[in-house]
Symmetry: C2
Subunit: 173 residues, 2 copies
Amino acid sequence: MSKELPEWEKAREEFVVQWGSLGTQWGIPRTMAQIHALLMTAPEPMCTDDVMERLEISRGNAHTNLKDLVGWNLVRIITKKGDRKEYFEAEKDVWKIFITISKERKRREIEPAMQLLRDCAARTKEEAVGPGRDFHQQMKDLDEFLSFGVKVADTVISMKHASALQWAMRLLG
Amino acid sequence: MSKELPEWEKAREEFVVQWGSLGTQWGIPRTMAQIHALLMTAPEPMCTDDVMERLEISRGNAHTNLKDLVGWNLVRIITKKGDRKEYFEAEKDVWKIFITISKERKRREIEPAMQLLRDCAARTKEEAVGPGRDFHQQMKDLDEFLSFGVKVADTVISMKHASALQWAMRLLG
DNA sequence: TCACGATTTCACTAAAAACTGAAAATACCG
DNA sequence: CGGTATTTTCAGTTTTTAGTGAAATCGTGA
C-alpha cells in the first residue's frame, strides 16, 4: 500500500532529493540540504518525526541537522500550545535567506581567513625587498580585498529588499 | 640537517597550512587549497616535484589537484624553453582571482540549481490553489532571485577593477 | 516525586572522499 | 624508431565525514 502523492508533492520530492545532492557539491551535508529543502517547501512546521519519516533517516541524524539549521538561523523552532513537541519552520523569504547565509558565511568563513592574512602580513611587515616583500604585499592585498568586500556586504545586508533592488537596477541600467 | 628558512618563508608555511584547513571548512579539498596558497605566494612558477616536496604529498595527489586548479582557471601552465617539464603559476591579482572564482561558481553551482528550480516550477505551473500553488511560487521566487543575482554578478564580472571600486565606493559613500 | 514523552548524546558503523604509489601512457629528442 | 623524462591514470588504502540506534538526560504535568 503506497500513498498516492499529488503532483506538486512529487515535484517537491524531486526538489528535496536534488537539492541534497547539489548541496554535497558545495560542501553542505546532504541531509542538511535535504531538510532545508523540505522545510522551505513545507506548508506547515514539521516535527522531528515528520522529517525522519519523510526522508527515511534516523532520529539522531534528523535531530543533529535540524539543530545545525537552527544554528545557521535558517530554521526556527515553533512550539504549539498543548503539545510539547518542537516543530521546525524554515525562513521562506528569499531575501532574508540570502541575508542570513551571507552573515553566517562572513562569520564562519571570511573572518577567520582575514585573521590569518593579518597574522601573516604582520609577521612580515619588516620585509623590505624581494620575495619577502612580495609575500607581505600579497597578504595585504588579499586582506584589503576581503575587508572591502565585507564592507560592501554589510551595506547590502543592512538594506531592505526594495532598496537593494533599486540599487541593483541602477547598476544594471 | 634541517634547512633554516627565512622569516617570510615561515609565515608562508603557516599561510599554506592554515589556508588548507580553512579550505576544508568551505568544502574545498585540503590539498587543493594548500597548493593554491603555495602558488599564490610563489616567487617563481613551480613544477610538480617542487609541490610534492614542499607539501610532502604523492605525485598523484599533486598532479590531480594542480590540474583541478588549472580547470578552475586559477592556475596556468608555463613551459620553459629547453625544459620539458610543466611549471605552474597562480594568478596573483586579487580582482582577477575574484572574477575567476565567481564565474566558476556560477557555472558549477548556481546554474545547476537554477535548472532544478525551473524544472520544479514548470512541473507545477498548473497548480492554482493551496500548498501546490505555494510550492510553485517558492520555486519561482528562488529562481528569480538567483537570476537577478547572476545578472548583477555578470555586470560586476565584466567591470575593470577600477570601475568596480568606484561603483562600490558610491554604494558605501 | 514519579512517569512519560521528547530531546540530546555518543559509541559504533557505513559511506564518501582524499591520497598513495606504481604501472601505463605520452611526448620529446637524438 | 628506441630511450628517457614527464604526465596521467587507477586499484587499493587511509582518512574523514555522515549516519545509526539505543541509552541517557531533560522537562512537564499529574
